[in-house]
Symmetry: D2
Subunit: 170 residues, 4 copies
């Protein structure tokens, strides 16, 4: 039997502190992800990059998964199709990255940085989208595990290439 | 904007220890869940009630979510569409129940019992399908939070009624 | 170098719903555990069996560890020496049992039942102290993994014997 | 009744990748922490900063708590007194920081960075000991939530001052 498990792209970034530009970028990225037939996964809350990326994906007919920190599914953004309710606060950040085939990180605060770090530690590829993390993760940049993209449109072919490499390895 | 979050029905029960009868029942239940347009959520592994219920749902064109205990999405049953990779072992049982709008428990061992207990503690409705838990949860049976069903066909109208009650409460 | 890791005895049971008799039994058990030089581990909250067992252990000069469901150490009972703050709600029940060398379960509700089930699933020995769980765990009773005790004084030699068996196996 | 909950200082840093200099620094820090009567908490494994800091604390007669990622207490360093067994991999990093009254971070990789980020997000004070995190956490440095120390001896009075401030706030 053919395994038809869906490809999941995780999108991380600021919640309430997101700028309008970041939200626009997240919205565009969500649309592009849905356009490729990939599932969009994020932190699920109705704020910032989470809300905007889910809205973009949904408006393009895509499927959205939100991994929530709280105990109620009603805390999800209305653009989330499937709410995974963890009740475990920021410890859920590790689930976000483990559940994603690849991660795109937009500008964010300490929560987003923790997700980038947990992703890299677990061998996941991370694409930084307009997010300057300084010198901290240089080792992973040298290994091409951390990749820089300037626009959502630039991120898509990088994701495609990485997914292809993952498929070849299996 | 209309919230179109999907209804999630959790299906719990034995893994490798499941009998052929239990697997048949799980398969039929999966088909019925998908037939109603509900998402089926389970523990995601390729064994017993998990595999059979996911297979039933998928053959009926439904969407399946597997919440995995391990760290790799490749540990999912091939009938799982979306793998939530927790890497947290049995602690993920709490996520299974929090993420389900209602839970159906088929015969199972200690893992399934822990899920029933966690679900009841968190105010979730649980339908026991051919699973005799003795006197242990009598308090919840009296409160109609724990409900008995004899067949998958009997479980469906119970789920419908409970989902309606939940919608009214909101 | 000699490993001097301390032996940890987990004590589970009702929170606010505990009867005065159960609390007295928990208090006595806590004293006995401390008297043997064992660390007492429980759910850490200032209620019922948790509070009473920690108080007993502390009054006897013992060390107490509370594994809290919430995000603040100030939610611990004042009789807890070391607060492990999980912020993950009932999913912390799995940590309670994995961290205990052996578990004693006093009468409790769904939370306690989930801990018994998770402990048995993970191969831990569980001593039931005046807690009738019906027929549900008969398989584990037959395997002597689940053991019945009538009083705290009866539980202590059972714990000693089991710890000795564990030491021999290593 | 007086609350005698112990003060917990979390020590984070590299595992197997730690340099001899970092291990020496961790060892000295562990001794100083124990000398003040504080409990030392770390990730519990027998490697690098974890092992060295626990050894220092224990040699000075202090109490050590290790929050382990795996499912077995036997995976702890022999210098750990109390093993908290989470079975949840890197998601346990969030427990490390929530359970610490203050955190000291020595040079480390992605795991350590995730702990710094999670700590800052949860309002914890973090002292960087010879760990240059670049510009990434500048916001928290400006808020004095992230503090720089050059030696273990320098870190101790900073910890004392911060614990005093926390006590005053309560």
């Amino acid at each position: 039997m053919m395994n038809t498990r869906k490809t999941v792209v995780g999108v991380m970034g600021s919640g309430a502190a997101a700028t309008p530009e970041d939200c626009q970028m997240a919205y565009n990225l969500g649309k592009l992800i849905a356009g490729e037939g990939w599932v969009l996964l994020n932190g699920g809350r109705p704020a910032g990059v989470m809300e905007a990326s889910a809205r973009g994906a949904r408006e393009k007919g895509g499927l959205t998964v939100g991994v929530l920190p709280g105990t109620g599914g009603d805390q999800a953004s209305p653009y989330i199709d499937i709410a995974i309710v963890t009740g475990m606060g920021d410890a859920r950040n590790n689930i976000n990255v483990l559940s994603s085939d690849i991660i795109v990180a937009l500008p964010g605060g300490a929560g987003t940085i923790s997700e980038i770090a947990l992703a890299l530690k677990n061998g996941k590829r991370v694409i930084l989208l307009k997010f300057d993390t300084g010198t901290l993760f240089n080792k992973y940049r040298d290994l091409k595990q951390l990749i820089i993209a300037g626009t959502p449109e630039e991120a898509v072919p990088i994701i495609k290439k990485e997914l292809l490499l993952q498929a070849v390895k299996k």
